[in-house]
Amino acid sequence: MSEAVLDAGPLIHLSELDALDVLRDMDILRVPVAVWDEASTHQPEALEFPGLERVTVPNVSASLQIVAQSLALDRGELEALSLMELYPRALFLTDDAAARLAAEQRGYAVHGTIGLLIRAVRRGLRSAPEILSLLRVLPQRSTLHLRSSLLNAILARLENEWTK
């Protein structure tokens, strides 16, 4: 069974791209309350995606509090990482470098919006041309900010990979 804990980034960015369907092969999608509230404020339509499970997070551990303080994590990231302590085999989905660093240090599998979009081709959820099109309009259609030269390098890598 595949399960994921979502931070606000992928939830919002995939929704902005009308691409939340790339998560549809995951069995359980847990969204901590703080992340839910953040998405509700910035991209409420994201929460209409079927299968999202709004989860109240129990007490945050002392060690995680210190990590959060050190890395200036927001409440959503803190709750998501706290949920990962309960479900350490879940995939942690975030676009925040600090949250990802903290997750890596704790040994969690962690990926973001870009990886999820590309994975959708591998998993047969979207075609390669569809994902390339989405990536090309990423700067206009989403609030996920990537340096343009980095995005161009990714597109070149994918075009090369998918046209072999």
């Binding site: 060690s63 890395l71 470098a97 599998a109 990926h111 973001g112 980095l150 990714i154």
Partner: protein, 66 residues
């Protein structure tokens, strides 16, 4: 701010270096030093980290085996 206590394991030599910084008055305690070190690391490497993570995602997207 919520106060918490936790335990971290440090290699002896690193622990000695940290202790010397605290004893010299650079930091009031070990916790402050660790917090500051992590904060500075992230500030210095934010762009680099983001790009590294994006490329990790590209490879995972293409070849992940989950």
């Amino acid at each position: 701010m919520i106060e918490n206590t936790t335990t971290i394991n440090l290699p002896p030599r690193l622990a000695e270096q940290i202790q010397s910084y605290v004893q010299a008055g650079w930091f009031p305690d070990l916790n402050s030093l660790v917090v500051e070190a992590l904060r500075r690391y992230l500030e210095a490497h934010q762009t680099e980290l983001t790009e590294r993570y994006v490329w990790q995602d590209v490879e995972w997207g293409l070849r992940g085996n989950e």
